[in-house]
Symmetry: C2
Subunit: 245 residues, 2 copies
């Protein structure tokens, strides 16, 4: 019943092959159990007998698309050194047009490039109850295996929209908040009920063409000498300050 060859599965680490096939890989026990409970359409699950047995309550519902493999065989198909439990082949969702809803806090990512950072930000968003992330079109692909792995299953609960940020911002009526070296201290700023948190690119910060949309510059106060915090860390600290309000 094996529909997908190890070679094909390995090829899905490349964006153009994901685009051509419309599927992506979800790796490791935690991520697979999350995707089984989500509304993603799963095409096939490769896993060890041990993984199936230990999670039969969830995996049992998908028995018809489960193929047992040995740990070594899983490892050979995997993009990750440490995955020897399972790989699922899952249909990508279409990029839907984005709409604002009342009362939402939204994250916007301006050209985020590192897959680990995007995955981590998805996980952080899910922790802080943020349901939507806007990514500029040139940001790293959600279906990159490293994004999916780093999200630890949270990609199933947070919607990602690839969209021209300036178009989404143009008619937005609520605060658009960006991090800068000289902005209002997040420990003192009174965050709004709804708004957008704009996070800049890892190397270059927020693009110039987006700066004019920012209605509030904020700063995470520094007590030592590091030059900056990474994008994921900054997102978490700001959301923690936002949510405590």
């Amino acid at each position: 019943m094996q529909k997908y060859s190890p070679k094909f599965i390995k090829s899905l680490s490349d964006k153009k092959n994901r685009k051509a096939s419309g599927v992506f890989v979800v790796e490791g026990t935690k991520n697979i159990l999350e995707v089984v409970e989500s509304d993603y359409v799963i095409k096939q699950i490769f896993c060890t007998k041990e993984m199936y047995n230990s999670s039969e309550r969830l995996l049992g519902k998908k028995k018809s698309i489960v193929t047992y493999l040995e740990a070594g065989e899983i490892k050979n198909m995997s993009s990750f050194e440490f995955n020897n439990t399972g790989i699922a082949i899952v249909e990508q969702k279409e990029n839907k047009p984005f709409e604002f809803k009342k009362g939402e806090i939204i994250i916007a990512l301006d050209e985020i490039r590192d897959p680990g950072n995007l995955g981590t930000i998805i996980r952080i968003a899910d922790w802080y109850g943020i349901k939507k992330i806007l990514c500029s079109p040139s940001s790293v692909d959600l279906y990159n295996p490293k994004v999916i792995a780093a999200s630890m299953g949270s990609f199933c609960r947070v919607e990602i929209f690839y969209t021209e940020l300036e178009k989404s911002f143009e008619n937005y009526k609520h605060p658009i908040i960006g991090t800068f070296l000289k902005g209002e201290n997040v420990h003192k700023y009174s965050f709004p009920k709804e708004g957008i948190l704009l996070i800049g690119n890892e190397s270059n910060g927020v693009s110039e063409y987006l700066e004019k949309f920012i209605t509030q510059k904020i700063t995470i106060p520094r007590f030592g000498k590091a030059e900056s915090l990474n994008a994921g860390i900054a997102t978490a600290v700001i959301l923690d300050n936002w949510r405590r309000n």
Copy 2:
């Protein structure tokens, strides 16, 4: 004048070769400029003429140990795909015995395994003005190239001590704070002036044998459904709450 061969430099990604030679590699412009300004002893700097010229104010002081190479040659010796500017060979510091000083906030890491996590935590510590990190002996090695790279130069300002945590904790008189699912909300907890923040291992949390030393359990409040936050993110959010007090 080239004392170190590309083969030797590559071999330093392996802990046993670092241990045998007593040196480690510092890669990329930012990290090299930081180490030049620190009290680390640098044995040799390989860099492009362009990197040297653009940072002559700092690198000029080390001219006698600079060897120019082409970008492609740097790339060939590097552990990282994107480093084509420079590599420094630096003497490791000895692991000094640890002593507490009055008024300090200290981070203790219980078996942290991921080099990116340790490097990120060093950078966060440096942002929040924390000067000492205790690591249990089986934690990942500070001189792993991925730790150094992720620390973005902050390894020059934060001291790392490998030590049996229980011995350091035994006679400690101030609060030892640990993150748990059911602890006091960090948004409400009144952090002490001095104390230790104990961060558990990525998969297993805080070891059982260390739990008895914890005087305060704390929790980062969750507003969504992610199961956890990673060690670096949790450290940053807690320190941000600690420092705002």
